[in-house]
Amino acid sequence: DAGITQSPRHKVTETGTPVTLRCHQTENHRYMYWYRQDPGHGLRLIHYSYGVKDTDKGEVSDGYSVSRSKTEDFLLTLESATSSQTSVYFCAISEWGQGNQPQHFGDGTRLSIL
């Protein structure tokens, strides 16, 4: 498996609190992605990064922000968590652009917002 570490693996928090999820890779891949997975929706792209400090929005970006200050780290922040953001969050990486490269996924973070 690709060297991808997500932290924390599980988190329970309350509505209105800020939450930051971390994705760390050891593959030196250029592209990194954040997805959320919900029953009946498959995987939906939140944000992605194509280099240090270069990010773009995905399909469901409202309520989320991201930062990438180093090649190996991609952070996902929920500024004020809501119950609708309860989900499993996956980080993924690909060597080049998303268009024709396989994506390798981390083990996921299970986030519950009460």
Binding site: Y35, G40, R44, L45, Y48, G99, P102, Q103, F105, D107
Partner: protein
């Protein structure tokens, strides 16, 4: 909205039976990828299809990309208990974003 639809949502088969999942898009796709996710696990890349009408095989798995590049299928011959999991297609209309299907959850009954 959901750009890639996948059916069926669930499929239960007896071990040894065949299984097929279908992926459909309202728009032409540049390429399509297939992933497998075991229960409690993360998606794992299986294959990518790029050409119109393309067929690829991996042992008991056969992947097809439609002539119009709007649909795709994954067929498993003689299922085994190790095939259990959810199979996702991911289609790319244009640009850099893939749209994942809702997945088909496969249960194999021994």
């Amino acid at each position: 909205g959901q750009q890639v639809m996948q059916i069926p949502q669930y499929q239960h088969v007896q071990e040894g039976e065949d299984f097929t999942t279908y992926c459909n898009s309202s728009t032409t796709l540049s390429n399509i990828q297939w992933y497998k996710q075991r229960p409690g696990g993360h998606p794992v890349f299986l294959i990518q299809l790029v050409k119109s009408g393309e067929v690829k095989k991996q042992k008991r798995l056969t992947f097809q990309f439609g002539e119009a590049k709007k649909n795709s299928s994954l067929h498993i011959t003689a299922t085994q208990t190790t095939d259990v999991g959810t199979y996702f297609c991911a289609g790319r209309p244009t640009g850099n974003q893939f749209y994942f299907g809702t997945g088909t959850s496969l249960t194999v009954i021994p």
